[in-house]
Symmetry: C2
Subunit: 167 residues, 2 copies
């Protein structure tokens, strides 16, 4: 397989995966492009490589900065801003986990805690609801704890533990 072909396939595939991680398509593609680029790229270069508009590039670059998975680079003697991606996939995964925890898990935990003290009127419906909420809450809290551990962990330590589990 040729370089250009491989590059395109990879951007495509990473775009899809990023999408299922909660980024949007363009965000994920910009990230993929920066991942495989040996040097930082400017907005201009990103627009050109991915054939996207200036506005689109700008917005998604900002979103990536916001998620903390790419960073702004100032090159001496250049007026443009350049961007580079965190190349360590482990760090990236941790960052994504952190964002998603904040954006997704925390809101549902809040609701579960509220709903938890629904008035029990003794009916089947209420009983079932209470049971389900209890289970969900338990599950969500355990997941939250696990995520927290993951986010704070060291790569080698984590994989070693998992290796043991997977045996």
């Amino acid at each position: 397989m040729k370089y250009v072909e491989a590059k395109e396939e990879l951007i495509q595939a990473w775009g899809n995966l990023g999408y299922s991680w909660g980024l949007n398509k363009t965000m994920a593609q910009i990230h993929a492009l920066l991942m495989i680029s040996p040097k930082p790229l400017s907005t201009e270069e990103i627009m050109l490589e991915l054939s996207i508009s200036r506005g689109n590039a700008n917005m998604n670059i900002r979103a990536l900065l916001d998620w903390g998975i790419i960073s702004r680079i100032l090159i001496p003697g250049e007026r443009k801003e350049f961007f580079k991606s965190e190349k360590d996939i482990w760090a990236l995964a941790r960052q994504v986990a952190k964002e998603r925890r904040k954006r997704e898990l925390e809101p549902i935990l809040k609701v579960l805690r509220e709903v938890n003290d629904v008035q029990s009127d003794g009916s089947e419906d209420t009983k079932e609801l209470k049971r389900v909420v209890k289970d969900l809450k338990n599950f969500a809290e355990k997941s939250d704890g696990l995520l927290e551990t993951f986010i704070k962990s060291e790569e080698s330590w984590f994989w070693n533990v998992l290796l043991k589990i997977m045996k």
Copy 2:
């Protein structure tokens, strides 16, 4: 908090979480409704409770069946079909993990394996690409293994192991 209020909040919140797990909004809401219902519901009842159309109800029920997270129930003496959800959240999480592994992780692994044998022409770009692909592949394969273990594991065993990790 009153029952009806709690029910609505929960359907809403579960709808959002389901969405971030890869279901769509209505799918997730139908699932939430079935989760908290003590008895199986018919399409009619689902339509009514969620104020959605027949077609929409039908399609999303089918999608849930497809994901394997709800099941069809035949009640003797009734001609309608009824549906109930898997109530064990652990089993549900495992099922979702299984589907997403199939839908998301497998395709990218395939691409990574293909892209892996790009011709190295000695340039910086090619070197960087190879490096990134190697890392991604390593990460994706480890994740795949972990997911596999999770999908096949027993609840109590899994949480016990994780509890130990999290200390």
